[in-house]
Subunit: 336 residues, 2 copies
């Protein structure tokens, strides 16, 4: 008989309470753990700032002040630059490609090794799907229009914008609208139609560029304190992992459904103009991205091994993606 | 305290034992149920023919001779034509779109209602992703080349081929190779590069057409006998559902990884020629598909409500799919 003593864990998250898609997914992981364990293992969810700051959840879990986090692992590139590969990188993997690399192409073992340095056990625990390129106050007609552009875009996407001659700024989600409205910034990316609609960017920036090249699939993580994880029974370890996998499945459908719904609302009811980046912007961004990612691979031994594994998958997966989902969507349009 | 008595369930499947992707997924659902329940609920997996014929698993579960099945629900269109919508239909949903409709667009409630008529509770339990169009002994240059074509393609895909002037035949997986080799058939579809490679079709048919229009995402189901499901504790009900969702996540990555790997082997090591259907074939197939699906919606009241829900999602989802994954794969190719 397994020990059925009751136990409660604390999950700290980087999301505002009940944030669509992201907070929802954290809540679902927590709820599932309780349900699957028949209430023997329950999880209390803390929104950003309640028990740890949004970007402080990693340290809280690493140091044992909380049991697990739900966040985007590329927030931790200050700990190791290779963390970017486990959320999203420019011109990197779609959600299905990321699932392929992590679960079947060696990604999980490298992710485990990286996070073990910080006493954390990581799991895929949600995915936003392809993110949009952002809201622009004026049209981008060619690469020249990127020069001097002031854009809210964090992380490696920001590095690419700087390589194209723009400037990247970190503006918290709640302040993007007023920064766009005042002209303090010319453009801003956030997530996609579902989350972007809620923040009202369509009221101050008419051009919605997409898809984005910077986050072709935002893979979100649940990181569990290693000592806490190791103290769990075999059954409860399996429950934590399955709750994350089941929520990953659920979230990808949720983002697809609600993104379609809100894209329609934006274009049909709010005159949002969908636009695609010009080819010269795409090619310049592609070249800059390759250099930026290769540079990560030169930082330290583990980053090198992660980069090598990622680049092998990056060479292998697109031929199938293009022949399969990519080719299918094109063919379906042809069919009318 | 929940009742922790030991219980074993029998899962009958439509797959040969350990068949890559499909049998693997059935095995994983079964294993997870055991792990998540700490061994209180275990599942014995029977391959096709062991405890029920491949296409007899539905009746076995419906009549209570087995507890659950793992199969493709479009095998049961003889019970209700609307079952097709819960696996794949021509020019229908990709895996992500199917996940969106089932989990977030009302699909699951309709699927539950359909299967309740047969005392079955259905869950999404794996997905093949986009399937290929098939292996052809000669090139298809225009719609004219479809006339008289003898193709192994079951279900609604076969109805489309017949509407284009060809003939569709049912040939079991194990007999496709020799039927192609002997010239008894001119073409055959099976699944995709991973499963097709194993059966060796590349040795007798040089043209590999893709993507297919007939199954843009093969959603596989786990159906549980309703009395059995209702007899489970709340905890064990949640475990069955989560095991299916977690396996759906896992399988989609598996098919993506191994399809890419085998597409490379086929094209680089076996001279397989990848080809796309000509536009006139695609447009004619699209028109035929619309008629065939609309006809299902006229069969009975529940089929009508399923068709209406599906067609609403079919109108809503592609705009996002094209802007997101579709647009991204094109953009990534442009970036080089």
């Amino acid at each position: 008989m397994v020990n059925r003593g009751l136990r409660q864990l604390l999950m700290v998250t980087s999301w505002p309470r009940d944030m669509p898609g992201l907070g929802d997914s954290a809540n679902r992981v927590a709820r599932l753990i309780g349900e699957l364990s028949g209430g023997a293992l329950t999880v209390e969810v803390a929104a950003a700032g309640e028990r740890a700051p949004a970007l402080g959840v990693f340290d809280a879990v690493s140091l044992g002040r909380a049991d697990m986090y739900h966040a985007a692992d590329y927030y931790w590139t200050g700990k190791s630059p290779a963390y970017a590969f486990f959320t999203a990188v420019p011109f990197g993997f779609s959600a299905q490609e990321q699932m392929a690399w992590i679960d079947h192409g060696g990604g999980q073992a490298l992710w485990n090794e990286l996070s073990a340095q910080f006493d954390i056990v990581p799991f895929q625990a949600a995915n936003t799907g392809v993110q949009m390129g952002g809201w622009f106050k004026r049209e981008i007609r060619s690469l020249d229009d990127m020069r001097g552009l002031k854009m809210r875009i964090p992380g490696l996407g920001g590095d690419v914008i700087r390589a194209l001659g723009g400037t990247s700024q970190l503006v918290p989600g709640g302040e993007i609208f007023s920064a766009l409205q005042s002209g303090a910034i010319d453009a801003a990316e956030w997530v996609g139609p579902w989350n972007d609609f809620q923040l009202g960017f369509y009221r101050v920036a008419p051009y919605y560029y997409g898809p984005g090249f910077h986050e072709p699939g935002g893979s979100l993580a649940c990181g569990v304190n290693r000592q806490v994880f190791e103290s769990l029974s075999t059954e409860h370890k399996a429950i934590v992992r399955a709750a994350c996998e089941a929520t990953h499945h659920w979230s990808l459908g949720a983002f697809h459904w609600h993104s379609a719904e809100h894209l329609r609302i934006l274009t049909e009811e709010h005159n949002t103009r969908l636009a695609r980046f010009p080819d010269d912007v795409i090619r310049a961004a592609g070249a800059a991205s390759r250099d930026i990612l290769a540079d990560i691979g030169r930082r330290d031994n583990l980053s090198r091994r992660i980069y090598d594994s990622w680049i092998a998958a990056r060479r292998a997966l697109p031929a199938w993606s293009d022949a399969a989902e990519g080719g299918y969507y094109t063919m379906r349009t042809t069919a009318g």
